[in-house]
């Protein structure tokens, strides 16, 4: 709950003083927020400074390409865009399968700037969208936390969020991905929900639906909102916190939000058809039943009410059972139980690895390791429990929401490392609450102990004297928080008072003061320690932003004793493709490189990072795991002209195709059973040395990766696998090497055309003829 607004009215003599302090506090927090925004923006610029202003990684390239299309062709063309340069020959309906929020946002920013005669390129806008929205996200965090625990906690949470490494990892300049704007949308939606919950205003409820709409536009993670809010509503109802404010906060969101969500082409009827949204409708029904019950309770006498309850409960139970039975039957009749694979793997973390290798193969869908928690949220991991406790002192609607948010997001982050991103804001909010509460306790104790400032403390105490117990507990926060929170609308104060009446104070001011007062030394030392903790966090965040999360992954660097090495092989390869191949040529590669190939090389690809068609990916996986001839036939049937493989064995780049190869085998084998994983493993071990299985040594991926590799050092030592390769000297019969980048990281092969002639039988009497003509005979591979 927020600040003790009622106090200012109760002590009229202090009004002038308070107004001044409020104004000062308001201006101060405004500037603090401004600085937080600057911090959030600038901490994400390391990638631009250390590398260059460039789009990062894989998905951002697709988003960039889509944004280019949008700015060039307009929104209607974007909506109806059928892309024939990807998923050849199936194509992809981009307009209907993409979350348009990010693209539209960046497109709008670009359009605005251009109409203001600021000629920025689309790429620049895309690169800086994420940092800009991180600033917005920290402000949204401020608003949300302020709604929960006051301005002090809000500012603390905002500053924590501005530099939390988990969020930085997804929003550095150049990381132009959905999450960049989605996290802002997520926090802002939550803020508006809490705001509606606190005020009961339909205006905010409508805004909330619109914010939810923006979230749906931006990210598939919107299902988190539409499940978390119903959970919270249910929690409020169960704990007897039902109020008309809750109804206003929830019912419009479900109705308007669902209608708006259905407008997004990629969601469409999913907004009402899939199980992800089911909880919201169930809770929608429940809240109406509860509302009805409260209404009836109001107009009936208690005795009548009891009769009515038994009647309704017995009838209602029967109806409910019937409805639930029908629903379960409906849901169970669908093979995935109406849940999409990604959501199912959230509920059952082992689901994906068991059934959907394509989901499990993505590294960001793996469960995180413990160190990654300390890497990504650092000291917040320790502060979160304290924050949760602070949320219970006292428990309000808003703080119960925060508790629920942190609990669920901790679970989800444990399932998928990518969802650490959802945890980060929750951790920042709770940690912000914890830190500001702790600071408040310590500073208050110091004030109480120090004789010089005790009079001021008396004033503070006087301010709070008329407040209830809840307000007193709430007063445990920094002075700034108190000041800024004074200028609340009176309507809210009234509501607060009404709530306060329900929980009459039991303790007196003096008792409480004694309770909160800590010894001076302990307070000072604790304060110092907290400052150290904060400093440690800041140092860690800046380090993470500068070193760990700023690499664009298309340009790699490494430091060695003889200086900095830059590996720009990816762009070298894509540039080669762009300049040396025909515009309609098809390039096959593992799907990781699909987006980059279409965006940077402008060539048609077979599969890309939008893994919507498992069979198509399995076809490519099968080709990669097949021997050369079978692979040639598969690729030829897909009109593939070039095959691109990423190989790190020469420079020790670990995320290359050989390391991803088992996933190709698994995904391929999932659809084409003649590819069997054990064939590629020696005693369950994946190896490429002389102990490797013949299937492994003869598969296309091995050959394309290690073709001519032995010529580099004479031994064929793979620096990723740290072993000598098993088969060193071999020739390619159906493929020819056309390009290998400087560090051998990308190798491009061309499919040889079908042989012009078909040879007769192989020479049976080699001994007879070889002596004469073997020198002149060209080896004919085609038989």
């Amino acid at each position: 709950m927020s600040a003790p607004e009622a106090s200012s009215a109760a002590v009229p003599t202090l009004t002038t003083n308070n107004t001044l302090r409020n104004a000062f506090g308001g201006v101060l927090s405004f500037f603090i927020l401004l600085l937080i925004g600057v911090l959030a923006f600038s901490i994400r610029l390391f990638s631009v400074i250390k590398y260059e202003s460039v789009i990062h990684e894989f998905d951002p390239y697709f988003n960039y390409r889509v944004t280019q299309f949008l700015t060039k062709n307009g929104i209607y063309e974007f909506w109806n865009w059928f892309d024939d340069r990807t998923w050849y020959p199936l194509g992809r309906v981009i307009g209907g399968t993409v979350y348009p929020g990010l693209t539209l946002t960046a497109g709008t920013i670009w359009w605005l700037l251009n109409s203001l005669n600021i000629p920025l390129s689309v790429e620049t806008v895309c690169v800086f969208t994420a940092p800009i929205f991180s600033a917005f996200a920290s402000w949204a965090t401020y608003l949300l936390t302020k709604e929960v625990k006051g301005a002090g906690a809000g500012l603390t949470a905002a500053v924590l969020l501005a530099m939390v490494p988990s969020y930085i990892s997804r929003s550095v300049a150049g990381s132009y991905d959905n999450e960049a704007v989605a996290i802002f949308a997520l926090i802002f939606t939550f803020y508006l929900y809490i705001k509606t919950l606190n005020t009961g205003s339909l205006f905010y409820a409508t805004l909330n639906s619109i914010a939810y709409f923006y979230m749906v536009c931006s990210w598939g993670g919107y299902t988190f909102i539409i499940n978390l809010i119903p959970m919270h509503v249910l929690l409020c109802i169960v704990t007897g916190r039902y109020s008309s404010r809750l109804y206003i906060a929830y019912a419009p969101l479900v109705v308007l939000g669902t209608l708006l969500a259905a407008l997004v082409p990629v969601v469409g009827f999913n907004a009402v058809m899939t199980s992800e949204h089911f909880a919201s409708f169930l809770v929608f029904i429940i809240i109406h039943v509860v509302a009805l019950v409260y209404y009836i309770k109001g107009i009936l006498s208690p005795k009548m009410f009891k009769v009515a309850v038994t009647l309704v409960v017995s009838v209602g139970l029967a109806v409910c059972c019937a409805v639930i039975a029908v629903l379960i039957a409906l849901v169970a009749s669908s093979p995935t139980k109406g849940w999409s694979g990604r959501s199912l793997s959230l509920l059952d973390p082992t689901y994906a690895s068991k059934y959907i290798p394509i989901i499990a193969s993505v590294s960001e869908h793996q469960p995180p390791t413990w160190p990654s928690y300390f890497m990504d949220i650092n000291v917040l991991a320790f502060l979160v429990p304290a924050g949760i406790i602070a949320c219970f002192l006292p428990l309000s609607d808003a703080s119960s929401f925060v508790v629920l948010y942190i609990v669920t997001s901790v679970y989800f982050s444990g399932v998928m490392v990518r969802l650490m991103l959802v945890l980060a804001p929750a951790a920042c909010i709770t940690s912000g609450i914890a830190l500001s509460q702790a600071f408040d306790v310590f500073t208050r104790s110091i004030k109480f102990q120090l004789p010089g400032v005790s009079s001021k403390t008396e004033v503070d105490a006087g301010e709070t004297s008329s407040a209830t117990k809840e307000a007193q507990n709430d007063a445990v926060k920094t002075e700034k928080a108190e000041e800024t929170s004074k200028d609340r609308p009176s309507r809210k104060s009234k509501k607060k008072e009404r709530e306060h009446v329900e929980k009459p104070s039991t303790k007196t001011k003096a008792e409480k003061k004694r309770l909160l007062a800590l010894p001076l030394e302990a307070s000072v030392i604790s304060l110092l320690l907290l400052v150290f903790l904060g400093a440690f966090y800041v140092v860690h965040c800046v380090w993470a932003a500068a070193e760990a999360y700023s690499a664009p992954s298309i340009v790699l660097t490494s430091h060695s004793h003889d200086g900095l090495h830059v590996f720009d092989d990816f762009r070298e390869a894509y540039a080669w493709l762009r300049h040396n191949t025909d515009v309609d040529d098809k390039v096959a590669s593992w799907w990781d490189y699909g987006y980059q190939t279409t965006a940077m090389a402008n060539r048609t690809v077979i599969v890309d990072n939008n893994t919507w068609n498992n069979t198509h990916i399995a076809t490519v996986g099968t080709a990669m795991s097949s021997p050369e001839k079978a692979a040639w036939e598969i690729f030829h049937s897909l009109d593939v002209k070039y095959v691109l493989v990423v190989f790190g064995g020469l420079v020790g780049y670990p995320s290359d195709d050989i390391n991803k190869f088992l996933w190709m085998v698994r995904i391929g084998g999932g659809v084409f059973p003649h590819i069997k994983e054990p064939d590629y493993l020696r005693d369950g071990q994946y190896r490429i040395d002389s102990q490797a299985t013949p299937t492994m040594l003869n598969c296309l991926m091995y050959k394309l990766s290690y073709y001519r590799f032995v010529e580099t050092d004479g031994k064929g030592f793979d620096r990723v696998r740290r072993t000598e390769i098993g088969k060193k000297y071999f020739k390619l019969t159906h493929f020819e090497e056309v390009f290998t980048t400087h560090h051998w990281m990308v190798r491009i092969y061309k499919l040889k055309p079908q042989k012009n002639r078909i040879r007769g039988k192989t020479k049976k009497s080699k001994s007879k003829t070889s002596s004469k003509s073997s020198g002149t005979r060209k080896k004919n591979p085609w038989l």
Binding site: Y76, N80, P89, V93, D584, R757, I758, R759, T769
Partner: protein, 436 residues
């Protein structure tokens, strides 16, 4: 300046001609290199050579071991075709070798190979590379004790009279070859799975391949109709190759001789050899059976421009022109079995094109209700003709957002329901709020 630009345009327009083996506009070969073991063949096979000369070919006779032999100079081929009448050559002279001959073929040039019992490994290897396997036994010849040609020396059954021709007007001409072809030479076989090679002249079921001078110690490897006497190959790039097991087949002696097949009462004044070699050389040198497809066009019905993309369920028109080379000019090609595929991983539409008799083939059909990147494909593979395989990529998109039906008749109850609910709610709200 004007002159220069003219030259430039001239050069540009002829550039493709320099790149390709034969001029796409006049596919018939002109310059032919004939390699001989010795120049006496020039006179002993003069009828065949003269028939080529009379058809306008420019024959260049050289000895197979001529040290100045070269097929190409400065990256350009000097000849359009090669006739290897040098069966016993172990090594070519000059820069010519097996690889050079095969490269010559792979760049679209034609080849005639004739061997006899003295065939060298080099020549045999050329044949093998083209998909024809000569008998391994170097002393073996084709022997047939039933359908031999009756000649002066009784008991010599290596002079074979065969009339087992391939049934193809394109390869052997429209006039039926009545008299049997006399053959004296070695046998070869072709792989049945090899769809590029055709047996033009096969041996009779009673033939076999063995050394005629010694007794058979073991059953012969090649027997019966598995033996091919003359085969042709049309490579994937439409280069044509003829491989004959007998050099004598082309000789004046056998071209002029009277023939009577053993066991047959028919006696012919002249063997079928002359007609056979003339007709088949016409085919090999692209005077016949060479097709070209041009003007592949498609458009929506009612429009003339070619769209960059189709929508599902569009009606479209497809047309292509196909011509046949007659040796002098492009004639219209008329057939009723040309088909077009609308193809995406598998043909969604397969339609026979109708023709107007003037070389224009056309069809109209509806784009299937599937979006993706399709191809118009014409794969026309007919015996003796050059293979036509055209494909043109065209994407097919789904409906735009405003191309769907605006109002669906079956949904009228739902429209009604929603509007009555809205009206009802409005009235209810007014009544509830303002009616006390």
């Amino acid at each position: 300046m004007k002159n220069l630009s003219f030259l430039f345009i001239f050069g540009i327009s002829f550039f493709p001609l320099l790149c390709f083996s034969f001029d796409p506009e006049t596919p018939t070969d002109r310059r032919v290199l004939v390699l001989l073991d010795d120049f006496s063949l020039k006179s002993s096979h003069s009828i065949f050579f003269n028939s080529l000369k009379s058809r306008g070919f420019d024959l260049d006779f050289k000895l197979a071991d001529d040290p100045t032999l070269s097929l190409r100079r400065y990256g350009q081929y000097l000849y359009d075709a090669l006739i290897l009448f040098s069966p016993s050559t172990e090594r070519f002279g000059g820069s010519l070798d097996l690889a050079a001959v095969l490269d010559f073929v792979d760049s679209g040039h034609d080849l005639i190979v004739a061997v006899d019992a003295s065939a060298s490994d080099l020549i045999k290897n050329i044949a093998t590379e083209c998909g024809v396997d000569f008998d391994e036994d170097s002393s073996a010849m084709v022997i047939d004790h039933k359908s031999y040609a009756i000649s002066g020396t009784e008991g010599d059954h290596t002079l074979i009279a065969s009339d087992d021709f391939i049934q193809s007007d394109v390869i052997l001409g429209k006039t039926k070859i009545k008299a049997p072809v006399i053959f004296k030479g070695i046998a070869h076989s072709v792989n049945a799975a090899n769809n590029l090679v055709l047996k033009v002249l096969s041996a009779s079921p009673s033939a076999y391949s063995a050394n005629p001078k010694s007794e058979l110690s073991s059953p012969p490897l090649l027997t019966g109709s598995a033996i091919s006497l003359v085969s042709v190959v049309q490579a994937r790039n439409n280069a044509r190759i003829m491989i004959a097991g007998s050099l004598d087949l082309f000789s004046n002696r056998l071209l002029r001789t009277a023939v009577q097949k053993a066991g047959s009462p028919d006696k012919y004044e002249k063997s079928g050899n002359e007609q056979f070699v003339t007709e088949i050389s016409k085919w090999v040198f692209h005077e016949r059976g060479h097709l070209k497809a041009v003007n592949l066009k498609h458009n929506k019905v009612g429009e003339t421009d070619e769209p960059a993309i189709y929508r599902i369920k569009d009606d479209l028109k497809f047309s292509v022109k196909i011509y046949e080379w007659s040796g002098k000019s492009w004639e219209t090609y008329v057939a009723d079995d040309v088909q077009v595929q609308f193809y995406m991983m598998s043909p969604y539409v397969l339609k026979t094109l109708s023709t107007d008799g003037k070389g224009l083939y056309h069809a109209s059909f509806k784009v299937p209700d599937v979006y993706g990147v399709f191809q118009f494909k014409v794969d026309y593979l007919r015996l003796g003709y050059t293979s036509l395989s055209l494909s043109k990529q065209i994407p097919v998109r789904p409906f735009r957002h405003n191309e769907y039906e605006r109002f669906i008749t079956t949904a009228f109850p739902y429209y009604g329901a929603s509007f009555t609910t809205m009206a009802g709610f409005f009235i209810f709200s007014i009544l509830y709020l303002y009616n006390k």
